[in-house]
């Protein structure tokens, strides 16, 4: 099929034809929400195109046909839309990592259960197994709570953005965790400008930032967001030492960042308590300043600039940061 072929047997009925057209265009998109959003965009396009043609004297029916003709091959567009909108949201390497994480938890749980049955009457072994089991259970509970806390925070952030006319996307709001994950944040004064200076370690896989490693927390950067997870009792699969056991090849880099704190033009959305220095740091979902970060490998230091300005406010996110990192490292 080339251009859209409307049903010429029946009388022209605009809404019916428009629905038929958008159904054909979005036929390959699996997600219902995306399907309806894309359909709406094409509807708007058709309305605009028809309005132009009708101003030139065409009838509604002819204008619709001309607008459809201008669209091009409907099947080809449908395939293109399907390719884009049906992609897996979780990158393959992150998915592999999740599989590994849950496999380890599963194997350890089964082993512990077996040992517990076998050595029930050996007190020392029994206690050891119980303690390790409790540590693992506490970790799992805390991970789960941290995840749900973050989801609630993101919900309120989205509500705030909507009420105040800011545009955010789910995968662009991951910056909140950076300060939480940073090692020894400090406030410095330089050239009359105050900064919160943070340094943290990040693991890279194929030059994409996978994790930011802190002493007591780690964060996982995924396309769907970043999870900040406390790792009490020193147990966590994402410490720098553990990364060597990951199935993908990763490496550590040190990233430092300076965030001016005197340019805050937006209300603080959330406050997070840093357990290490007993201070409360303000964590902004909208960073008010352009991000300057330095990526160091060996003796070479590369400066990264990130973010974009809108209405005098700088917005940025770790996705663009990661993308820039990839770009600078030539893996684009």
């Amino acid at each position: 099929m080339a251009a859209y072929d409307r049903n010429s047997v029946q009388d022209f009925e605009f809404n019916r034809e428009l629905r038929r057209l958008t159904r054909a265009l979005t036929a390959s998109i699996r997600d219902k929400k995306q399907k309806s959003e894309v359909a709406r965009e094409y509807e708007d396009h058709i309305y605009d195109a028809m309005q132009n043609y009708m101003l030139g004297g065409m009838t509604e029916e002819d204008a619709f046909s001309a607008a459809c003709e201008d669209l091009g091959d409907i099947d080809e567009i449908a395939v293109m839309l399907g390719d884009i909108h049906n992609q897996d949201k979780i990158p393959a390497d992150v998915r592999r990592e999740n599989i590994l994480r849950w496999s380890i938890i599963g194997v350890v749980s089964v082993t512990l259960y077996g040992l517990l049955l076998w050595a029930w009457d050996i007190f020392v072994l029994q206690m050891t197994i119980l303690i390790v089991g409790i540590i693992l259970a506490v970790n799992l509970i805390i991970l789960s709570l941290a995840y749900h806390k973050r989801r609630r925070a993101m919900k309120s952030i989205r509500k705030y953005a909507k009420e105040n006319g800011y545009q955010i996307q789910a995968n662009r709001t991951v910056y909140t965790s950076i300060l939480y994950a940073a090692d020894k944040p400090s406030v410095i004064l330089e050239n009359d400008t105050q900064y919160i200076k943070v340094r943290f370690l990040a693991t890279l896989h194929k030059n994409r930032v996978l994790h930011f490693l802190g002493r007591n927390v780690y964060t996982t950067a995924t396309q769907s967001g970043m999870l900040a997870m406390p790792t009490p009792l020193g147990v966590g699969f994402h410490s720098a030492a553990w990364m060597r056991f990951m199935p993908m090849k990763t490496r550590l880099v040190e990233i430092s960042e300076e965030i001016p704190i005197d340019a805050v033009t937006l209300p603080t959305l959330e406050r997070r308590h840093d357990p290490r220095d007993k201070e409360v740091h303000e964590v902004l979902i909208f960073n008010p300043a352009p991000m300057r970060a330095f990526y160091r490998e060996g003796t070479t230091e590369v400066e990264l600039l990130g973010g974009e300005q809108k209405d005098g406010v700088w917005l940025h996110d770790i996705i663009s940061f990661g993308t820039m990192l990839r770009k600078l490292k030539g893996d684009f």
Partner: protein, 110 residues
């Protein structure tokens, strides 16, 4: 004169980034602007613009948001991100190198 479809296809992202670097626009407006600036040389199949835009949003080069247009209708607008601006700079440079090289090659035979 109409331009080979493949040539236009390869440069669509650059064209989109270039027009969005100056103004936030919705799809139909973008098509009009590209046609106007190119004196209708790039008369693209309009429906193929949206998959390109959506892919660029997924790559973080663009962002989309809903807003009312001048006519009062709700529209999905697109704007360039910082990554997109960086990408535009890189692609412009690539384009200069590419066209310069092609010109030098075809110039030799003329």
């Amino acid at each position: 004169m109409t331009i080979n479809k493949e040539l236009t296809k390869g440069s669509m992202a650059l064209l989109v980034l270039s027009v969005l670097a100056e103004e936030e626009m919705y799809g139909y407006q973008m098509i009009g602007e590209i046609n106007r600036r190119s004196n209708n040389v790039f008369r693209m199949k309009e429906g193929t613009l949206y998959p390109i835009l959506h892919a660029m949003v997924a790559e973080g080069l663009l962002e989309s948001y809903d807003a009312k247009s001048e006519t009062g209708r709700d529209r999905k607008y697109y704007r360039i991100t910082a990554t997109g601006s960086l990408q535009l700079k890189v692609r412009r440079e690539e384009w200069q190198v590419f066209t310069g090289a092609v010109n030098r090659v075809i110039g030799e035979g003329m």
